[in-house]
Amino acid sequence: MNLNVTMLAQAVTFFVFIFFCKKFVWPPLMRAIETRQKQIADGLTAAEEGKKSLENASRQADEAIAQARGRASEIVAQAEKRVSQMIEEAKTAARAEGDRELAAAKSEIEQEVSRAKETLRTQVATLAVAGAEKILMREVDAKAHADILSDVQKQL
Protein backbone atom coordinates (compact mmCIF):
# COMPACT_ATOMS: atom_id res chain seq x y z
CA MET A 1 0.00 0.00 0.00
CA ASN A 2 1.46 3.31 -0.98
CA LEU A 3 -0.85 6.15 -0.23
CA ASN A 4 0.07 9.27 -2.08
CA VAL A 5 -1.30 12.29 -3.88
CA THR A 6 -3.43 10.02 -6.08
CA MET A 7 -5.80 9.85 -3.14
CA LEU A 8 -6.18 13.63 -3.14
CA ALA A 9 -6.69 13.67 -6.89
CA GLN A 10 -9.35 10.97 -6.62
CA ALA A 11 -11.06 12.75 -3.74
CA VAL A 12 -11.16 16.00 -5.71
CA THR A 13 -12.51 14.12 -8.73
CA PHE A 14 -15.09 12.48 -6.48
CA PHE A 15 -16.33 15.83 -5.18
CA VAL A 16 -16.40 17.32 -8.67
CA PHE A 17 -18.65 14.51 -9.85
CA ILE A 18 -20.81 14.61 -6.73
CA PHE A 19 -21.36 18.28 -7.47
CA PHE A 20 -22.03 17.55 -11.15
CA CYS A 21 -24.49 14.82 -10.23
CA LYS A 22 -26.27 16.90 -7.62
CA LYS A 23 -26.47 19.94 -9.86
CA PHE A 24 -27.05 18.63 -13.37
CA VAL A 25 -27.93 14.94 -13.36
CA TRP A 26 -30.19 14.17 -10.43
CA PRO A 27 -32.70 17.05 -10.37
CA PRO A 28 -33.89 17.12 -14.01
CA LEU A 29 -34.71 13.42 -14.17
CA MET A 30 -36.32 13.43 -10.74
CA ARG A 31 -38.38 16.40 -11.82
CA ALA A 32 -39.44 14.53 -14.95
CA ILE A 33 -40.34 11.44 -12.93
CA GLU A 34 -42.28 13.44 -10.36
CA THR A 35 -44.13 15.35 -13.08
CA ARG A 36 -45.08 12.07 -14.70
CA GLN A 37 -46.21 10.63 -11.38
CA LYS A 38 -48.40 13.68 -10.83
CA GLN A 39 -49.81 13.40 -14.35
CA ILE A 40 -50.63 9.74 -13.81
CA ALA A 41 -52.23 10.49 -10.46
CA ASP A 42 -54.28 13.29 -12.02
CA GLY A 43 -55.28 11.00 -14.87
CA LEU A 44 -56.44 8.34 -12.44
CA THR A 45 -58.44 10.88 -10.47
CA ALA A 46 -60.01 12.19 -13.68
CA ALA A 47 -60.86 8.64 -14.75
CA GLU A 48 -62.46 8.01 -11.37
CA GLU A 49 -64.50 11.18 -11.69
CA GLY A 50 -65.46 10.27 -15.24
CA LYS A 51 -66.62 6.86 -14.06
CA LYS A 52 -68.68 8.48 -11.32
CA SER A 53 -70.31 10.98 -13.66
CA LEU A 54 -70.98 8.20 -16.15
CA GLU A 55 -72.74 6.26 -13.41
CA ASN A 56 -74.70 9.37 -12.54
CA ALA A 57 -75.67 9.97 -16.14
CA SER A 58 -76.76 6.38 -16.70
CA ARG A 59 -78.81 6.47 -13.53
CA GLN A 60 -80.48 9.68 -14.73
CA ALA A 61 -81.07 8.14 -18.11
CA ASP A 62 -82.64 5.09 -16.47
CA GLU A 63 -84.90 7.34 -14.46
CA ALA A 64 -85.88 9.30 -17.57
CA ILE A 65 -86.59 6.10 -19.46
CA ALA A 66 -88.70 4.74 -16.61
CA GLN A 67 -90.61 8.01 -16.45
CA ALA A 68 -91.15 8.06 -20.19
CA ARG A 69 -92.28 4.46 -20.12
CA GLY A 70 -94.83 5.25 -17.41
CA ARG A 71 -96.07 8.27 -19.28
CA ALA A 72 -96.32 6.29 -22.49
CA SER A 73 -98.37 3.52 -20.90
CA GLU A 74 -100.59 6.17 -19.36
CA ILE A 75 -101.09 7.76 -22.76
CA VAL A 76 -101.79 4.39 -24.31
CA ALA A 77 -104.33 3.60 -21.60
CA GLN A 78 -106.01 6.95 -22.12
CA ALA A 79 -106.04 6.42 -25.84
CA GLU A 80 -107.55 2.99 -25.45
CA LYS A 81 -110.21 4.36 -23.20
CA ARG A 82 -110.92 7.13 -25.66
CA VAL A 83 -111.03 4.68 -28.52
CA SER A 84 -113.50 2.39 -26.82
CA GLN A 85 -115.54 5.41 -25.89
CA MET A 86 -115.49 6.60 -29.48
CA ILE A 87 -116.43 3.16 -30.71
CA GLU A 88 -119.28 3.10 -28.25
CA GLU A 89 -120.47 6.51 -29.38
CA ALA A 90 -120.16 5.49 -33.00
CA LYS A 91 -122.12 2.33 -32.32
CA THR A 92 -124.87 4.26 -30.59
CA ALA A 93 -124.97 6.82 -33.37
CA ALA A 94 -124.99 4.10 -36.01
CA ARG A 95 -127.77 2.25 -34.22
CA ALA A 96 -129.85 5.44 -33.95
CA GLU A 97 -129.22 6.25 -37.58
CA GLY A 98 -130.12 2.72 -38.58
CA ASP A 99 -133.31 2.86 -36.56
CA ARG A 100 -134.15 6.18 -38.05
CA GLU A 101 -133.50 4.97 -41.60
CA LEU A 102 -135.40 1.80 -40.90
CA ALA A 103 -138.37 3.77 -39.66
CA ALA A 104 -138.20 6.05 -42.69
CA ALA A 105 -137.99 3.07 -45.01
CA LYS A 106 -140.90 1.43 -43.24
CA SER A 107 -143.06 4.49 -43.49
CA GLU A 108 -142.14 4.90 -47.14
CA ILE A 109 -142.95 1.29 -47.75
CA GLU A 110 -146.25 1.76 -46.00
CA GLN A 111 -146.97 4.81 -48.10
CA GLU A 112 -146.00 2.92 -51.23
CA VAL A 113 -148.21 0.04 -50.18
CA SER A 114 -151.15 2.26 -49.45
CA ARG A 115 -150.55 4.14 -52.68
CA ALA A 116 -150.36 0.86 -54.55
CA LYS A 117 -153.50 -0.30 -52.79
CA GLU A 118 -155.25 2.91 -53.76
CA THR A 119 -154.16 2.55 -57.37
CA LEU A 120 -155.12 -1.08 -57.36
CA ARG A 121 -158.42 -0.27 -55.86
CA THR A 122 -159.11 2.39 -58.47
CA GLN A 123 -158.05 0.09 -61.23
CA VAL A 124 -160.05 -2.81 -59.86
CA ALA A 125 -163.06 -0.55 -59.58
CA THR A 126 -162.55 0.60 -63.12
CA LEU A 127 -162.15 -3.05 -64.14
CA ALA A 128 -165.19 -4.02 -62.20
CA VAL A 129 -167.15 -1.31 -63.83
CA ALA A 130 -165.80 -2.28 -67.21
CA GLY A 131 -166.63 -5.90 -66.41
CA ALA A 132 -170.09 -5.01 -65.25
CA GLU A 133 -170.62 -2.92 -68.39
CA LYS A 134 -169.60 -5.80 -70.45
CA ILE A 135 -171.87 -8.10 -68.53
CA LEU A 136 -174.81 -5.77 -68.75
CA MET A 137 -173.87 -4.95 -72.33
CA ARG A 138 -174.75 -1.52 -71.73
CA GLU A 139 -173.36 1.57 -70.45
CA VAL A 140 -173.61 2.12 -66.88
CA ASP A 141 -174.33 5.53 -65.97
CA ALA A 142 -171.29 6.31 -63.97
CA LYS A 143 -172.97 9.24 -62.46
CA ALA A 144 -176.05 7.35 -61.52
CA HIS A 145 -174.14 4.52 -60.05
CA ALA A 146 -171.38 6.48 -58.48
CA ASP A 147 -172.44 5.54 -55.04
CA ILE A 148 -172.47 1.84 -55.95
CA LEU A 149 -169.08 2.14 -57.52
CA SER A 150 -167.52 3.84 -54.55
CA ASP A 151 -169.12 1.19 -52.41
CA VAL A 152 -167.46 -1.53 -54.47
CA GLN A 153 -164.26 0.42 -54.36
CA LYS A 154 -164.38 0.47 -50.60
CA GLN A 155 -165.05 -3.19 -50.38
CA LEU A 156 -162.06 -4.10 -52.47
Binding site: L3, T6, K22
Partner: protein, 267 residues
Amino acid sequence: MAAAGQELNPTSYISHHLTNRTVSLGEGPFWTLHLDTWLTAVFLAVVGFGFLWWIVRGATAGVPNKRQAFVEMLFDFVDDQVKGIFHGNRAFVAPLALTVFVWVLLMNAMDFIPVDLAALVSSHVLQQHEWKPVPTSDVNTTFALALSVWGLMIFYNLKVKGIGGWTHELFCTPFGAWFFPLNFLFNLVEYISKPLSHSLRLYGNIYAGEIIFMLLWMWAATGLVGSLFGGVLALGWAIFHILIVALQAYIFMMLTIVYMSMAHESH
Protein backbone atom coordinates in the same frame (compact mmCIF):
# COMPACT_ATOMS: atom_id res chain seq x y z
CA MET B 1 2.38 -8.49 -22.36
CA ALA B 2 5.55 -8.05 -20.48
CA ALA B 3 8.03 -5.63 -21.88
CA ALA B 4 10.35 -7.02 -24.52
CA GLY B 5 13.36 -8.90 -23.24
CA GLN B 6 11.75 -9.64 -19.88
CA GLU B 7 11.36 -13.26 -18.86
CA LEU B 8 7.75 -14.38 -18.39
CA ASN B 9 7.32 -15.80 -14.93
CA PRO B 10 4.42 -15.40 -12.48
CA THR B 11 6.15 -12.83 -10.34
CA SER B 12 7.25 -10.62 -13.19
CA TYR B 13 3.89 -10.94 -14.97
CA ILE B 14 1.80 -10.06 -11.95
CA SER B 15 4.08 -7.37 -10.64
CA HIS B 16 4.21 -5.88 -14.11
CA HIS B 17 0.44 -5.67 -14.33
CA LEU B 18 0.13 -4.35 -10.82
CA THR B 19 2.63 -1.58 -11.25
CA ASN B 20 1.11 1.82 -11.54
CA ARG B 21 2.17 4.38 -14.06
CA THR B 22 3.56 7.09 -11.82
CA VAL B 23 4.25 10.75 -12.26
CA SER B 24 6.16 12.69 -9.67
CA LEU B 25 4.64 16.04 -8.82
CA GLY B 26 7.15 17.07 -6.18
CA GLU B 27 9.69 15.98 -3.60
CA GLY B 28 9.12 12.82 -1.63
CA PRO B 29 7.09 9.65 -2.15
CA PHE B 30 3.79 11.32 -1.23
CA TRP B 31 3.80 13.50 -4.32
CA THR B 32 3.72 10.53 -6.64
CA LEU B 33 0.58 10.46 -8.75
CA HIS B 34 -0.77 7.20 -10.14
CA LEU B 35 -1.58 8.56 -13.56
CA ASP B 36 -3.30 5.35 -14.72
CA THR B 37 -5.60 5.15 -11.71
CA TRP B 38 -6.56 8.76 -11.85
CA LEU B 39 -6.99 9.11 -15.62
CA THR B 40 -8.96 5.87 -15.91
CA ALA B 41 -11.21 6.97 -13.07
CA VAL B 42 -11.74 10.39 -14.62
CA PHE B 43 -12.37 8.84 -18.02
CA LEU B 44 -14.96 6.43 -16.58
CA ALA B 45 -16.63 9.19 -14.61
CA VAL B 46 -16.81 11.42 -17.67
CA VAL B 47 -18.24 8.61 -19.78
CA GLY B 48 -20.67 7.41 -17.08
CA PHE B 49 -21.97 10.75 -15.89
CA GLY B 50 -21.75 12.20 -19.39
CA PHE B 51 -24.10 9.43 -20.51
CA LEU B 52 -26.46 10.11 -17.63
CA TRP B 53 -26.32 13.83 -18.32
CA TRP B 54 -27.04 13.29 -22.00
CA ILE B 55 -30.12 11.20 -21.17
CA VAL B 56 -31.28 13.51 -18.42
CA ARG B 57 -31.03 16.62 -20.57
CA GLY B 58 -33.50 15.16 -23.04
CA ALA B 59 -35.69 13.64 -20.35
CA THR B 60 -39.40 13.94 -20.88
CA ALA B 61 -42.18 13.75 -18.35
CA GLY B 62 -44.28 12.01 -20.98
CA VAL B 63 -43.65 8.53 -22.35
CA PRO B 64 -39.93 7.82 -21.87
CA ASN B 65 -37.83 6.08 -24.50
CA LYS B 66 -35.87 2.95 -23.59
CA ARG B 67 -32.67 4.80 -22.71
CA GLN B 68 -34.51 7.11 -20.39
CA ALA B 69 -36.43 4.21 -18.88
CA PHE B 70 -33.14 2.47 -18.13
CA VAL B 71 -31.69 5.55 -16.46
CA GLU B 72 -34.94 6.07 -14.56
CA MET B 73 -34.72 2.50 -13.29
CA LEU B 74 -31.20 3.20 -12.04
CA PHE B 75 -32.26 6.45 -10.37
CA ASP B 76 -35.31 4.83 -8.87
CA PHE B 77 -33.22 1.95 -7.53
CA VAL B 78 -30.76 4.34 -5.85
CA ASP B 79 -33.56 6.57 -4.59
CA ASP B 80 -35.38 3.57 -3.10
CA GLN B 81 -32.25 2.48 -1.25
CA VAL B 82 -31.73 5.99 0.10
CA LYS B 83 -35.40 6.30 1.06
CA GLY B 84 -35.19 3.06 3.02
CA ILE B 85 -32.27 4.17 5.17
CA PHE B 86 -32.05 7.93 5.14
CA HIS B 87 -35.00 9.82 6.56
CA GLY B 88 -34.75 13.44 5.65
CA ASN B 89 -34.08 15.69 2.71
CA ARG B 90 -32.51 13.50 0.03
CA ALA B 91 -31.45 16.39 -2.20
CA PHE B 92 -27.77 15.77 -1.42
CA VAL B 93 -27.59 12.17 -0.22
CA ALA B 94 -29.39 10.64 -3.20
CA PRO B 95 -27.10 12.19 -5.84
CA LEU B 96 -24.14 11.28 -3.63
CA ALA B 97 -25.30 7.66 -3.53
CA LEU B 98 -25.83 7.67 -7.30
CA THR B 99 -22.36 9.07 -7.88
CA VAL B 100 -20.78 6.47 -5.61
CA PHE B 101 -22.71 3.59 -7.13
CA VAL B 102 -22.19 4.46 -10.79
CA TRP B 103 -18.56 5.42 -10.42
CA VAL B 104 -17.55 2.44 -8.29
CA LEU B 105 -19.49 0.09 -10.55
CA LEU B 106 -17.72 1.39 -13.65
CA MET B 107 -14.31 1.30 -12.01
CA ASN B 108 -14.90 -2.23 -10.75
CA ALA B 109 -16.15 -3.29 -14.16
CA MET B 110 -12.76 -2.47 -15.66
CA ASP B 111 -11.80 -5.81 -14.15
CA PHE B 112 -13.70 -7.56 -16.93
CA ILE B 113 -11.29 -6.34 -19.56
CA PRO B 114 -8.54 -8.94 -19.83
CA VAL B 115 -5.37 -7.27 -18.58
CA ASP B 116 -3.36 -8.02 -21.68
CA LEU B 117 -6.06 -6.59 -23.89
CA ALA B 118 -6.11 -3.46 -21.76
CA ALA B 119 -2.32 -3.41 -21.95
CA LEU B 120 -2.55 -3.63 -25.73
CA VAL B 121 -4.71 -0.52 -25.79
CA SER B 122 -2.63 1.36 -23.26
CA SER B 123 0.67 0.52 -24.90
CA HIS B 124 -0.42 1.24 -28.46
CA VAL B 125 -2.94 4.01 -28.07
CA LEU B 126 -1.64 5.78 -25.00
CA GLN B 127 2.02 4.77 -25.58
CA GLN B 128 2.24 3.70 -21.96
CA HIS B 129 3.84 0.42 -21.04
CA GLU B 130 2.68 0.39 -17.49
CA TRP B 131 -1.03 0.97 -17.13
CA LYS B 132 -3.16 -0.55 -14.39
CA PRO B 133 -6.68 -0.33 -15.71
CA VAL B 134 -8.74 -0.97 -12.54
CA PRO B 135 -8.87 2.16 -10.36
CA THR B 136 -10.59 0.43 -7.43
CA SER B 137 -7.76 -2.10 -7.10
CA ASP B 138 -5.62 0.89 -6.17
CA VAL B 139 -5.98 1.56 -2.46
CA ASN B 140 -5.68 5.29 -3.13
CA THR B 141 -9.03 5.31 -4.89
CA THR B 142 -10.91 3.39 -2.24
CA PHE B 143 -9.36 5.47 0.53
CA ALA B 144 -10.17 8.65 -1.34
CA LEU B 145 -13.81 7.61 -1.62
CA ALA B 146 -14.09 6.30 1.93
CA LEU B 147 -12.34 9.28 3.47
CA SER B 148 -14.45 11.70 1.42
CA VAL B 149 -17.57 9.99 2.73
CA TRP B 150 -16.05 10.04 6.21
CA GLY B 151 -15.35 13.77 5.89
CA LEU B 152 -18.93 14.36 4.77
CA MET B 153 -20.09 12.32 7.75
CA ILE B 154 -18.09 14.51 10.15
CA PHE B 155 -19.35 17.61 8.35
CA TYR B 156 -22.99 16.58 8.68
CA ASN B 157 -22.50 15.49 12.28
CA LEU B 158 -21.33 19.00 13.06
CA LYS B 159 -23.92 20.66 10.89
CA VAL B 160 -26.93 18.72 12.15
CA LYS B 161 -26.05 18.20 15.82
CA GLY B 162 -23.71 21.13 16.40
CA ILE B 163 -20.37 20.78 18.07
CA GLY B 164 -21.99 20.36 21.48
CA GLY B 165 -24.46 17.77 20.33
CA TRP B 166 -21.84 15.75 18.55
CA THR B 167 -19.44 15.90 21.49
CA HIS B 168 -22.25 14.81 23.75
CA GLU B 169 -22.92 11.90 21.44
CA LEU B 170 -19.25 10.95 21.36
CA PHE B 171 -19.00 10.82 25.16
CA CYS B 172 -22.47 9.83 26.29
CA THR B 173 -23.52 7.10 23.89
CA PRO B 174 -24.04 4.23 23.87
CA PHE B 175 -23.59 3.55 27.60
CA GLY B 176 -24.66 6.81 29.23
CA ALA B 177 -22.74 9.72 30.75
CA TRP B 178 -21.18 7.71 33.61
CA PHE B 179 -19.11 5.62 31.24
CA PHE B 180 -17.78 8.51 29.20
CA PRO B 181 -14.20 7.15 28.75
CA LEU B 182 -15.55 3.85 27.55
CA ASN B 183 -18.02 5.62 25.29
CA PHE B 184 -15.35 7.78 23.79
CA LEU B 185 -13.07 4.82 23.20
CA PHE B 186 -15.95 2.95 21.64
CA ASN B 187 -16.82 5.84 19.34
CA LEU B 188 -13.18 6.44 18.49
CA VAL B 189 -12.77 2.85 17.38
CA GLU B 190 -15.98 3.14 15.41
CA TYR B 191 -14.94 6.32 13.66
CA ILE B 192 -11.53 4.88 12.80
CA SER B 193 -12.85 1.54 11.65
CA LYS B 194 -15.54 3.03 9.44
CA PRO B 195 -13.30 4.39 6.64
CA LEU B 196 -10.92 1.47 6.99
CA SER B 197 -13.55 -1.23 6.56
CA HIS B 198 -15.36 0.87 3.98
CA SER B 199 -12.33 1.25 1.75
CA LEU B 200 -10.50 -2.00 2.36
CA ARG B 201 -13.55 -4.15 1.69
CA LEU B 202 -13.85 -2.75 -1.81
CA TYR B 203 -10.12 -2.73 -2.41
CA GLY B 204 -9.62 -6.30 -1.17
CA ASN B 205 -12.44 -7.76 -3.23
CA ILE B 206 -11.42 -6.11 -6.46
CA TYR B 207 -7.70 -6.62 -5.94
CA ALA B 208 -8.21 -10.32 -5.21
CA GLY B 209 -10.43 -10.66 -8.25
CA GLU B 210 -7.76 -9.07 -10.38
CA ILE B 211 -5.06 -11.38 -9.01
CA ILE B 212 -7.15 -14.44 -9.80
CA PHE B 213 -7.73 -13.16 -13.32
CA MET B 214 -4.01 -12.64 -13.74
CA LEU B 215 -3.20 -16.15 -12.57
CA LEU B 216 -5.68 -17.52 -15.08
CA TRP B 217 -4.38 -15.34 -17.90
CA MET B 218 -0.88 -16.48 -17.07
CA TRP B 219 -1.96 -20.07 -17.26
CA ALA B 220 -3.55 -19.28 -20.58
CA ALA B 221 -0.14 -18.22 -21.86
CA THR B 222 1.46 -21.61 -21.21
CA GLY B 223 0.17 -23.55 -24.20
CA LEU B 224 -2.96 -24.94 -25.83
CA VAL B 225 -4.24 -26.89 -22.81
CA GLY B 226 -3.47 -23.95 -20.56
CA SER B 227 -5.28 -21.58 -22.91
CA LEU B 228 -8.31 -23.85 -22.97
CA PHE B 229 -8.58 -24.39 -19.23
CA GLY B 230 -7.44 -20.90 -18.38
CA GLY B 231 -10.03 -19.46 -20.76
CA VAL B 232 -12.87 -21.61 -19.41
CA LEU B 233 -11.97 -20.87 -15.79
CA ALA B 234 -11.57 -17.17 -16.54
CA LEU B 235 -15.02 -17.18 -18.13
CA GLY B 236 -16.43 -18.81 -15.00
CA TRP B 237 -14.60 -16.36 -12.77
CA ALA B 238 -15.72 -13.42 -14.91
CA ILE B 239 -19.34 -14.53 -14.59
CA PHE B 240 -18.97 -14.86 -10.84
CA HIS B 241 -17.08 -11.60 -10.76
CA ILE B 242 -20.09 -9.78 -12.22
CA LEU B 243 -21.74 -10.48 -8.88
CA ILE B 244 -18.75 -9.22 -6.92
CA VAL B 245 -18.39 -6.10 -9.02
CA ALA B 246 -22.03 -5.15 -8.69
CA LEU B 247 -22.26 -6.26 -5.07
CA GLN B 248 -19.22 -4.29 -3.96
CA ALA B 249 -20.52 -1.16 -5.69
CA TYR B 250 -23.88 -1.73 -4.01
CA ILE B 251 -22.29 -2.30 -0.58
CA PHE B 252 -20.14 0.78 -0.98
CA MET B 253 -23.21 2.84 -1.81
CA MET B 254 -25.25 1.37 1.04
CA LEU B 255 -22.52 2.07 3.59
CA THR B 256 -22.26 5.61 2.28
CA ILE B 257 -25.99 6.07 2.80
CA VAL B 258 -25.83 4.47 6.25
CA TYR B 259 -22.99 6.73 7.37
CA MET B 260 -24.84 9.78 6.08
CA SER B 261 -27.95 8.63 7.86
CA MET B 262 -26.05 8.13 11.13
CA ALA B 263 -24.61 11.61 10.82
CA HIS B 264 -28.12 13.06 10.47
CA GLU B 265 -29.80 11.15 13.28
CA SER B 266 -28.98 11.27 16.94
CA HIS B 267 -28.76 8.05 18.86
